[in-house]
Structure formats: C-alpha cells, structure tokens
C-alpha cells in the first residue's frame, strides 16, 4: 500500500528543496567521470603507475581495501533526494552486494565494487547530480553539517547554503588538492547543540550574527581525531560571510605551505596550529588574508540569495501541535511513545516533527542499509517528507518534515523496514566504522563489538533507564568511528597479532567537546560487553537524578570506573 501511495505522490511531486545543478555543475561532474574513466583505463593498461593512480583514485573516493575496493560516494552535507537514494540502492544491487554503509561524514560507502566498474558507477551517479569527488585523499573533504538544518527553531540561519558555497569552492580547488593531509570542514548553526562536532574538525564554522545583526562565522581551527586528538581553537570570533572563502583560502594556504609533510601522523593542521601556537598561526593567516580579502572571491549578496533560493521551505500546512490522535496513541502505546520520545525531534513548524530512521537495528552493522531499505526510505521520504532525506553524522537517516498526524503511520512503516529501533542517543545508537571486516587500515574488527554491546544491552527499559550515552567504536587509530569523542570510546588495537580493545571515557563532541581519557590496559574482544556493563553500573550507582552519563563522569572522574572495570572477581 505504501508503494502505491508513493507512486502517486512521486509522480506529482517535482519541487525540490535542495541544491539543483545548473549546466556548469553538471559539466564538471561529467568531465570528472571522463577524466576518471581515462585514469582507470591507463592504470589497467599499465600506463599509470600504481603509486600515481593512488592519489588520483583516492580523490575520487576509491580505496583498495582488505577484500575489495571501497567507493565512498559524496552526499554533500548529508542531503539526499529520494530519487538519488533510489539510484544508490539500485547501484548497490547492480555493482555491489545490495547494501551500503552510511559514514560519519554523511557519505555512503560501497564495500564491494569492482575497480573497472567504478567509472560506470560514477557516470550513473552524475545522472542524479552525484559524484565521489574528494571523499578521500589529502584534499578538502565533504563538508558536513547539522542533520536538522533548516527545520529547527533555534538556528541562526540555515547552514546549507553556506555548505553548498563551501562545496563549490572546495571542489577541484586547484591549489589545495595535494595538502599535507586530509582536510575536513563542518558547519554548525545552533547555540543549543552542536550536532556537527565542529570542534573536532580541521576547520569548524559556527554560523552566528554579530551585534549589528550581520551573518558571519566564528571560525575554529585545528581540531581533529586520529592519532593525536585535539579540540579546535578559535582563530576568529567573527568573519563576515562575504569574506568566508578568502578567509578559508588564507588558512589553507598557510597550512599547505607550512604543514608537516615528513610524517603523515603529524601532518594534520592541528599539529601545525599546536606547534606555532594559535597566536602565531592567526598572525600568519591574517597576513595572508590581507592580500586576499576584498578580491574577486568575496561573495556577493546575490550569490547568497541564489544559494538560499534552493533551500526554500516546502509548503507546510497550517497544522496544530499534538493532534488528538497523536496524544491518544502516546498514552496508549508504550512502543510508540518510546519511538516518539527518542527518534523524533521538535520541528520549527507547529504540527510537524523531525523523524530519524534508525540504522542501528540489532544484528545489522551500525550505519548499514540494504538496497531494499534505501528504497523504502526513499518511498517514506516521498510519502511523508517532501521527497528528501538527510544522513546524520551518527549514521542514521532523517526525514525532516513529517506531519505529526502521520507519525503513527510512519512509525508502522518504519517498524516494518527495520528503521524504528527506538534508541536514538542511547547507548546502542553507536557510531561505528566498518573496521577489520572491510577496512585495510583497521587493526581490529568493530562490527562484532557493536553486536556484542547490542546483545548485552538488549533490554529497552534498561537502556532508557541508562539514558543518553554516546558510544563510539573505531577499528584503528585513524578514528573513523570517533572513539575519542564518545562518552564511551572503544578503539581496536593490535597486540602481537591479536585484536584487543582500549576503552576511553569522558569524550564528547558537542559544544562541550572533550577528548576521552583512556581507562587502562586494553581488553580482549569477549570482555567488552562485560566491561561496558561494569562501567554503566558505576554510573547508575553514582548518578544524581538529573545526570547523564557524561555529567556523572565529569563529576566523579575516571577512578571509580577504572576500579570497577579492572576489579578481580572474588
């Protein structure tokens, strides 16, 4: 029934609320496909050396992994239309094994494509205004932002037009394609919460208004995870939006020239900022900016207007909050009430709600979605949310504009398709990298750890009682699973060829960002569920009524957790 309804709606809905390519955008992605097709052909003909093809394929998101290549498809700032998602589903079916992995950079990773098929995949992506440009390599990566952009009440302004501006500026930037290391930018537009983790990015942009009411950005620099996790420092309290691109150029030009290139583990901008100190770094950036400020790259108001025109509001109906059927259902169904409480969020318009389709179903790798699920999610988007979705940094999908009087229907449909795990923000809503099951870099598997934790904490009442905990798992020091900023972080390490897991506590990625502290010696894989249980027990025993896990940790420190985790059984 859902599918029939979708067909009717889909054929009559043509309006878009996302950025739309014009001839220039389309030409660029098509020329990129042709370029990569030729590079792949030359590589397969031995005309291009392995080491030369490496950076070229990485700049197109193509890794050669443990068992097969991995292709990372860009989903700029997490926005994807139902039409695009349907093609992605189709691609995973025809070129892969019928599933994909949504990443913390809001992208989609295919785990089993054939190298020689990648040009064809890219060509298909280009037909729906998609690509894999700069999803890897030592260049500026996909800019990320809040998955609730444009639909929450308290944002300073919709960050997506600025993300699109940054996307265009960073795409094929001639000067910054061979930086010392990868470069990640995130944008946040709310005071109440930072869902984009801007403080742990190479550049974090905090959209704000100055006292005169002008829009600009507080600019943070030098945050990052990986081997040496650091919280970013403020380089400027306010850069007017017109100057954003010249200021970014100035920062990255300083980094490109002075960032370390002798050791890849010390090559991120955070190491340069730390080595110079923020004062000296700022001085150098300002000196560079003096030359760039006011040049042609200054963004005119007409461009902000043009970009903003793509992210218009859909035609919301005049609705009332909390319609009677919703109130009744909340009272009557505990399952629905839980899902509503956890997986839906306040919308700026009365009568609407933001809904997260969870990709954290027990038994499924966190962030993974099957082709069927992608198609179902696309259908749900068409039926309930104006045909668009967002990928969240926590590896879930979001329907941003759902009518409250349709929530019950949507919940039923979400349940049918494995999207209704009502655990958003709870312990089992884990961030998890693909780990040693797929990734050539990983020291250890991460998916079985996620499974073990899901099994240990399979009681919903208990999970709700524990409350909000960010648990993040990375299979190696590269920290794709953001373990440093998990309230509980788990890191896979290699000990003489065996997989062990180091646990850290107290990390956070929001406005109160902090790097977790290592609990102590690492644990064997089979111990992890038990160890996390002991840690949670300490929290439950020590918490005050209003404290979340992170609050209790900050109050009592690591010691009691350490004692419990390493206590010998009597």
């Amino acid at each position: 029934m859902v599918d029939l309804v979708y067909l009717r709606i889909y054929t009559t809905t043509v309006q878009s609320f996302m950025y739309q390519y014009d001839a220039i955008d389309q030409q660029l992605v098509e020329e990129r496909v042709a370029q990569f097709r030729d590079q792949t052909r030359r590589y397969l003909n031995n005309e291009l050396k392995e080491e030369e093809f490496l950076p070229l394929r990485l700049q197109n998101g193509l890794y050669v992994q443990r068992y097969a290549p991995m292709l990372r498809i860009a989903i700029p700032y997490g926005m994807v239309s139902s039409k695009q998602l349907r093609l992605l589903a189709d691609i995973t079916r025809r070129y892969d094994r019928g599933y994909g992995h949504f990443s913390t950079r809001q992208n989609l990773q295919l785990n089993w494509p054939k190298l020689e098929d990648v040009p064809d995949i890219l060509e298909e992506l280009a037909t729906v205004e998609m690509h894999a440009v700069q999803t890897s390599g030592n260049c500026i990566r996909n800019t990320t932002t809040d998955q609730y952009s444009g639909v929450i009440a308290d944002e300073v302004a919709d960050p997506r037009p600025y993300c699109e501006l940054i996307r265009q500026w960073s795409t094929f930037h001639p000067e910054f394609a061979f930086l010392p290391r990868k470069f990640k930018i995130a944008v946040c537009a709310t005071e109440s919460a930072d869902r984009a983790a801007v403080q742990v990015h190479d550049i974090g942009l905090h959209l704000k208004k100055n006292d005169a009411g002008e829009i600009g950005f507080k600019v943070l620099v030098g945050g990052g995870l990986g081997r040496t996790p650091m919280i970013a420092e403020t380089i400027s309290d306010f850069i007017p939006r017109a100057d954003l691109l010249t200021y970014l150029d100035a920062i990255i030009r300083v980094y490109n020239q002075h960032g370390r290139r002798d050791n890849k583990y010390k090559a991120r901008i955070k190491i340069l900022v730390k080595a110079l100190g923020i004062e000296e770094f700022r001085k150098r950036v300002d000196a560079e900016w003096e030359h760039l400020r006011g040049t042609e790259s200054t963004v005119p108001m007409s461009e902000f207007d043009r970009l903003a025109s793509f992210f218009t509001e859909p035609e919301y109906e005049a609705l009332e909050d909390q319609p009677a059927e919703l109130t009744a259902k909340l009272a009557e169904s505990n399952g629905f009430a839980r899902w509503y409480e956890r997986n839906t969020f306040d919308h700026k318009k009365p009568g609407y709600r933001i809904v997260t389709l969870s990709l954290k179903k027990p038994g499924q790798a966190p962030g993974d979605a099957t082709a069927d699920q992608m198609e179902k999610a696309a259908n749900l988007a068409d039926q309930y949310s104006f045909g668009e979705l967002r990928v969240s940094h926590e590896q879930n999908l979001v329907l941003a504009d759902v009518r409250q009087d349709q929530l019950i229907e949507l919940w039923e449909a979400a349940k049918e398709n494995g999207f209704a795990t009502p655990t958003l923000g709870l312990l089992t809503d884990m961030i998890c990298c693909p780990g040693g099951d797929y990734c050539g870099l990983a020291n250890a598997k991460s998916i079985p750890i996620a499974e073990q934790i899901q099994q240990t904490f399979d009681n919903l009442d208990y999970l709700y009682d524990i409350g909000e905990v960010d648990l993040n798992i990375s299979g190696c020091m590269n920290a794709c699973g953001h373990h440093h900023v998990g309230n509980i972080g788990i890191l896979g390490v290699d000990k003489k060829g065996e997989e062990f897991y180091q646990v850290s506590l107290g990390g956070a990625s929001g406005h109160d960002a902090s790097i977790g502290k290592i609990l102590g010696p690492s644990f064997a894989q089979e111990q992890i569920g038990d160890v996390i249980q002991k840690i949670i027990n300490v929290y439950v025993d020590s918490r005050t009524e209003e404290e979340r896990f992170i609050d209790t940790f900050r109050r009592i420190g690591i010691k009691p957790f350490k004692e419990a985790a390493y206590a010998k059984a009597d």
């Binding site: 220039i24 265009q168 500026w169 094929f172 001639p174 394609a177 030359h291 042609e296 790259s297 007409s302």
Partner: protein
Amino acid sequence: MPKLIKNGEIVDNTYVWQQDADATATENAIVPMQKWLDNQETIGKVAGIWIDAGEGVEPLADVDLSQFDVIGVNFPSFMDGRGFSYARLLRERLNYDGEIRALGNFMADQQGYLIRCGVNSFEFAEDVNLDIALTLNKPFSVAYQGDVADPRPVFLRRG
C-alpha cells in the same frame, strides 16, 4: 635536445635545471634560488632560478623577478602540493609574468591544477610520453574557483 611542454606545445628544452648548487652557473641554467640569492652580485646572467619545496616565495619579495626568463618550482614528490601555492603566489602576489616551470616528480594528471595556479611549462621525467601528457592538461572546461587565468569565481560568471 630534450623536450618539454610549454604553453600547451611540445618544444625544445633550451634551459638546464641545475639541481646541484655547486655546478657552474651558465646563461641557460636554472639555478637554486638560495644560490642565486647568496651570489646575486657575482653569479652573472642565468635563465632563472628554481624554488624547492619548503623554501617558499618570501625570499623573493624584494627581488626584481623580471630579470628571470624562468622560475622553476620543484616537486620532490607528486604528493607534495606546496608548489601549487608557490606558483600562485609568484603570479598573484609577486606579479611574475615569465615562465613558471614545474620540475621534478609531478604527474601529467596534475597539469590542469598546475596551469590554473600559473605554471605554464612542464619538464617531465624522461620516461613520460609527452604526446599523451599533452592530452591531460585540461580535464575541465569550467571551474568553481577563480584562478590565475581568471580571478572570477563561478558566482561572478554564472549566466
């Protein structure tokens, strides 16, 4: 005569890239920047200088660059992108309008970006087929950012 690509054509390479600072500087030599700076009173006429990765263009701030026919930018590795900024700064900051030559271990596939940063000649390693390399120098016919050839970003060019 060795060949190179200059302004989109395969031509004779009439200069000699002197990597060794102890080599005798000749009129057709591209000498190390630091050597030239240290000996500018005595070194006599040379074709130009070359900048190594890590040296930057700041030492040239007060030098009359118009005396050089060529300024080389060395790429110790094709992963080392410092030269992209150096070329751009030579053009946009120091207003050098002579030849900027990519030297060392860069790739044919990097020509498009290098050209946009102001490089206009490419001294490839001997094993590179220049006819093929020449086909790779303009992968894109449009660009989002301003560059050395056209400082206007796309938002000043969209119809």
